[in-house]
C-alpha cells in the first residue's frame, strides 16, 4: 500500500473530520442523576457541619463548666477577685466608671493572664450559644 502518497494535511483533516463526527454513548438520565447526587452531597455536607457545630457547642459547654469549677477549686481567691472586680466595677462604681479606668487597667495589667483566659472562654461560650441556637439557620440562609 503506497502510504507515502497520502497527503499529510488531507489526512489530518480526514482524521479530524471523522473523529469529530463520533458521538459517545451516555446514559440518557445521567445529568438528572448527577444533579440529584450533588444535591444529596450538599445536604450531607450541611448536616455534617451542623452536627459538628453542635458537638463543638456541647464540648464548649462542658469545657466552660469544667474551667469554672477548676478555677473555683484551685484559685478561689483569684476567681473571686476577678469576678468581684468585674461586677463591682459595674454595679458599685457605675457612677465613677471613667475614674476607675486607670485602676482597671492596673488590675488587668497585674492579672492579664486571668483576663485573657476569661475573655477567651467567655467568647467561646457566646459563640457556642449562638451556634447552638442559631447555627443551622444561619448556615442554611
Amino acid at each position: 500500500m503506497p502510504t507515502g502518497r497520502l497527503d499529510e494535511d488531507r489526512f489530518d483533516r480526514f482524521l479530524a473530520g471523522a473523529l469529530q463526527k463520533h458521538s459517545e454513548p451516555v446514559p440518557a438520565d445521567f445529568t438528572e442523576r448527577m444533579l440529584s447526587a450533588i444535591q444529596q452531597a450538599e445536604q450531607r455536607r450541611i448536616l455534617a457541619g451542623i452536627v459538628f457545630q453542635q458537638r463543638l457547642a456541647l464540648a464548649a459547654s462542658i469545657v466552660l463548666g469544667a474551667c469554672a469549677a477548676l478555677a473555683a477549686v484551685f484559685f478561689p481567691a483569684a476567681t473571686t477577685e476577678v469576678f468581684r472586680s468585674i461586677t463591682g466595677s459595674v454595679t458599685e462604681h457605675a457612677a465613677t466608671w471613667f475614674g476607675k479606668i486607670p485602676q482597671t487597667i492596673e488590675t488587668i495589667r497585674n492579672q492579664w493572664q486571668s483576663y485573657a483566659i476569661l475573655t477567651a472562654v467567655f467568647g467561646f461560650a457566646i459563640y457556642s450559644l449562638v451556634e447552638l441556637l442559631l447555627g443551622d439557620r444561619l448556615r442554611i440562609a
Partner: protein, 193 residues
C-alpha cells in the same frame, strides 16, 4: 458584536457556575458528559466503572469550581480531572496496571469485528474510530485530544501530565499507525480524500 455578547454570556455562565448555581452546573454536565465518558472509555474502564468515574469527575468539578480561576479552558480543566480520576481508578483497581506498560501493547479489549467488518458498514467514522480503538490507550487519548477536541500540545501535556515532547511522540507514532491501518482498509486514495 455577536462575539462580545457570546463572551459575556459565557462569563455570566462561568460566574454562576463558580457561585454554585445548580442550573448552570446542569448545563456543564450536559455539555461535557460525552467528553468525560469518552475519556474514561478510551483509558480502558469497563462499562460498569465508567459511570462511577464520570460521577466522581463531575463531583470533583463541582467542589473545585470555586477554585477554577479560568487559566485554562473549562474543557481542558475537566479533561484533566477526568483523566486523573480514570488513571487513579485503574491504578487502584487493576493489579499491576501501569501507564507505561500500555505504550507498546495493543488494547487488550480489541474488538473481534476489526476494520474489515466495520468496512462492511461503509461508515468512515466508525472505521476511523475502530482504528483509534486499536491504538495503545495513551496514543488514542492524545489523538482524540488533538484531532477531536482540537487541543494544543501544551494543553494535552497538561491534561495527561506528560511533557510536550512525549505528547509529540505519541501523536507522531499514533498518526503513523493510523495511517497504515486506514490505508490498508480504505486504500491510500480513499483515505487521502
Amino acid at each position: 458584536m455577536d462575539k462580545v455578547a457570546e463572551n459575556q454570556k459565557k462569563d455570566n455562565w462561568l460566574r454562576l457556575l463558580c457561585s454554585g448555581d445548580q442550573q448552570a452546573f446542569a448545563r456543564l454536565i450536559d455539555k461535557y458528559k460525552e467528553m468525560v465518558f469518552l475519556c474514561c472509555r478510551r483509558l480502558g474502564l469497563r462499562e460498569d466503572e465508567i459511570e462511577d468515574v464520570a460521577s466522581e469527575t463531575f463531583m470533583a468539578a463541582y467542589k473545585g469550581l470555586s477554585r477554577y480561576a479560568g487559566q485554562s479552558d473549562l474543557s481542558t480543566w475537566l479533561w484533566g480531572i477526568a483523566y486523573r480520576k480514570a488513571v487513579s481508578y485503574l491504578r487502584k483497581n487493576r493489579k499491576n496496571w501501569q501507564l507505561k506498560d500500555e505504550l507498546d501493547e495493543q488494547i487488550s479489549y480489541s474488538r473481534s469485528d476489526g476494520p474489515a467488518a466495520a468496512m462492511q458498514a461503509e461508515e468512515t467514522e466508525k472505521i476511523v474510530w475502530q482504528a483509534v480503538e486499536q491504538l495503545p490507550r495513551l496514543w488514542a487519548t492524545a489523538i482524540i485530544l488533538y484531532y477531536r477536541e482540537q487541543k494544543c500540545i501544551f494543553d494535552i501535556a497538561k491534561i495527561m501530565g506528560q511533557n510536550e515532547n512525549t505528547i509529540k511522540t505519541y501523536l507522531f507514532r499514533a498518526r503513523a499507525r493510523l495511517k497504515e491501518m486506514l490505508a490498508a482498509t480504505f486504500g491510500a486514495d480513499d483515505a487521502d480524500r
